[in-house]
Symmetry: C2
Subunit: 222 residues, 2 copies
């Protein structure tokens, strides 16, 4: 049986990704990373989901001198009520410098330790094209580079990076999740990380748009 | 003034690297990473050195489900009394899967946050060619990839990765350190991390060889 490390935040995208890996007969190992995000809540959601699925779940914790990102610093206001044309054109204040490179490097470490065949990463280039570290050319180059620097890479083993959501719209992700029986009510997207989704941050706006276009009510809002 | 992030473990190589960056008129910012290494002692050495130099010093802490490496697990025996022909041919048990990718990704994050021009990394390909993540082709590919995934990279700014020790022998590193007035007695290399250097781990063996060939006594041993 093939094995996959799934970067798993407990958000909508990474949860659909994890379910997809399982549906493709991978033995899945989840990796969640705590990095000072204000919506740390997503990690506890991830824990509940992984337990329900009986998936092995690693946690990594990262303490870094990042500053200035509104995703980490609750003194910086989260962008609110932005619509898609704006979203796709600029790098938002929620961007955390080099975060996905760190995440992928840690996932690759995990994959090497676990002798895994693939990394599943729920990056999405369509809605989030403002994030430089979700771009396909970056992802390809990064994995190629990492294989050069790992024991397994040198020994000729390939670890694939699978980004099955890269070119899907949020609507398509919701529809795929429904097909895979993803318990949407157990996922978390809102950047604010309060008791209820704020409804106005980029993550909430995109999630709402996805559910609406898919014609499915978001159980988190009912 | 140009600014450099220096990956700084407090070991011989990274200390020489830090002094070199300063001698090249970079404003230097040190980044030390705690990752469960058994020779955690090196990080406190780094702290003392950075304070003495009045260099800004960031610490990152990394908690990862790594296992099996003798550098992390004191139940796994460190290699002892190996000589160079062996050292350069196999990947040693002290190899930590993907460690340098994680380190470089974190340094790049720091560089982006700090708007730095360069990362100084004391990797050495000659003595440590057993480590896949010290190989020049890997390092080049990795930095190229990371720039594709960062805001600064997309905006056209270059962050150089400087690996000035990559092709130096340990002897040359010691001689360079002497020229730069590196306080060798404040550095730490031994993987065992006890009160005194063990003298038999790979790090001790290489360090001793370097000092011996440079014709300089190692103050840590006197």
């Amino acid at each position: 049986m093939k094995k996959a490390i799934c970067l798993f935040s407990g958000g909508l995208d990474s949860t659909v990704c994890l379910y997809l890996a399982r549906s493709q007969q991978y033995e899945t190992v989840a990796l969640s990373i705590e990095y000072g995000q204000r919506h740390y809540k997503e990690v506890s959601k991830a824990q509940v989901l992984a337990r329900a699925l009986q998936v092995r779940h690693y946690f990594a914790s990262l303490s870094m001198p990042w500053k200035g990102s509104s995703l980490l610093d609750d003194k910086v206001r989260l962008p609110q009520n932005r619509d898609l044309p704006i979203l796709s054109k600029e790098i938002p204040s929620t961007y955390v410098p080099g975060r996905n490179s760190a995440f992928l490097a840690l996932a690759m470490s995990c994959a090497e330790t676990e002798n895994a065949d693939a990394i599943f990463f729920g990056a999405n280039a369509l809605d989030y094209s403002g994030y430089p570290d979700c771009r396909p050319d970056y992802l390809e180059a990064f994995v190629r580079a990492m294989l050069l620097g790992t024991k397994i890479g040198i020994e000729g083993k390939k670890i694939e990076i699978q980004t099955p959501l890269l070119h899907l719209s949020k609507k398509d992700i919701v529809l795929l999740g429904k097909k895979l029986d993803v318990p949407f009510e157990k996922t978390w997207s809102c950047y604010a990380g309060e008791d209820k989704p704020c409804g106005v941050c980029d993550a909430c706006v995109l999630r709402a748009k996805g559910f609406q276009e898919a014609g499915i009510p978001d159980p988190l809002l009912s």
